[in-house]
Amino acid sequence: MLNRINHIKEKYYNSVIARFLGSDSVLQNPYSTQPACRNASTGRNYNRYSYVLPVPLIKAQSGNNPLKYNDPSEYQFERLKDRFETEVFDERENNGSLWAKYQGKDLRGDRSNSHWADYSDWSQVKYPGEYDYEQEQAINLALSNIAFLAEMAFYTMNQQELHYYGPYNPRPDGNPAANNGGNKKKPLLEFVGFHRGIPEFESRLMPGSYSPGYSGVTPGPFIIYSSGDSDNPNLNRHEPGHVVQFLLLGGYSLYIPLVAIPSLITAGKPYHNDMPWETSANWLWETLTGEKVPINK
């Protein structure tokens, strides 16, 4: 039993029971208020029988960790990183060989070497288990940039205005109420309810969401309006007629060639509202519900 006791300068260590037999003469980090490692209490800073450092210096680190900290003097811990830097620097200044040993080749006297330049900023060197704040920040920045660029591309593709009008960015015409009260960013796609059983959505991608005007599209048995325009009678008494057409034509097989494509072609034309696929939608909805489009023939 006795020969398993190791003398390590300041105190003895029993390798059989894995315990120090003497206490540290120095409290390592007495002012730290960090909670200790898992299942430990804050009082562990005053445990003088642990190795190096009972509790972590910062929350993300782990205490009692000989891989991260070293205690060559047995009086006060030091970080391996600090020791490594000091040794390398000292050896290099003294024309020693330690730096060459670490790098695998002799770089003595050559401060302009690129290897030295690469590792001259030691704050960038990471050690196993060390929490990498810079990396996390870089990842967060990259993700936010990607999200921003994606949104910009989305708006550009849809030729939407990029301005979000509000109290600090008033509309050019000075009238915030003109655009459906649209002073805040509107949802990409929002379910707004049913109009006589037909599901209705609003999307900021539809023309008129951020610019004067309004629009609607009926891609099937549901309707998508520009943001804030689902209660516009010009739209919500016409688009449901397209849903009726969709149902009467038995789905996409006839609806797309007979209504959708022709409507898409004439959507930007002045005579759009007089086309049979549009007037029939008005007529169908008015016949079924009595709701008449305000401005019609």
Partner: protein
């Protein structure tokens, strides 16, 4: 890939309707009024009227169709004129016209071009 194509077809091949909103009616009174726009020089009491908020609201009046839909609509009428009927709320009950009392103005495309497509009530109705 098949599902993606389906989504594209459904998303872009719907019946699409866009509005021309170049016509503006400014309500210069201090109360909301109601309006009807028609190509007929007379209206019946069953015609539905729609609300015009007082200024500074810019009441853009829309018609489905691309740019130029308003010109097309007006020029297709018998006398190339559209009629704007304004009702003070004392004449009507909500949006249903009850009494045949209104202010009316007939507008042509040339007239609207001169006014920059902005009609003011009551100034332009005298």
């Amino acid at each position: 890939m098949k599902n993606l194509l389906y989504i594209i077809v459904v998303a872009f091949l719907g019946a699409c309707d866009k509005a021309d909103v170049q016509l503006i009616i400014l309500n210069k009174t201090n109360q909301e009024v109601f309006y009807i726009i028609s190509r007929d020089s007379s209206i019946n009491t069953e015609t539905e009227a729609f609300k015009l908020n007082p200024s500074p609201d810019t009441n853009r009046i829309g018609i489905l169709g691309g740019d130029g839909a308003w010109e097309y609509y007006i020029n297709k009428s018998k006398d190339s004129t559209a009629y704007i009927y304004i009702f003070n709320n004392k004449y009507i009950d909500k949006t249903t016209l009850e009494k045949n009392r209104f202010d009316r103005i007939g507008v042509t495309v040339n007239m609207l071009d001169e006014k920059n497509w902005i009609i003011m009530y009551p100034e332009d109705f005298k």
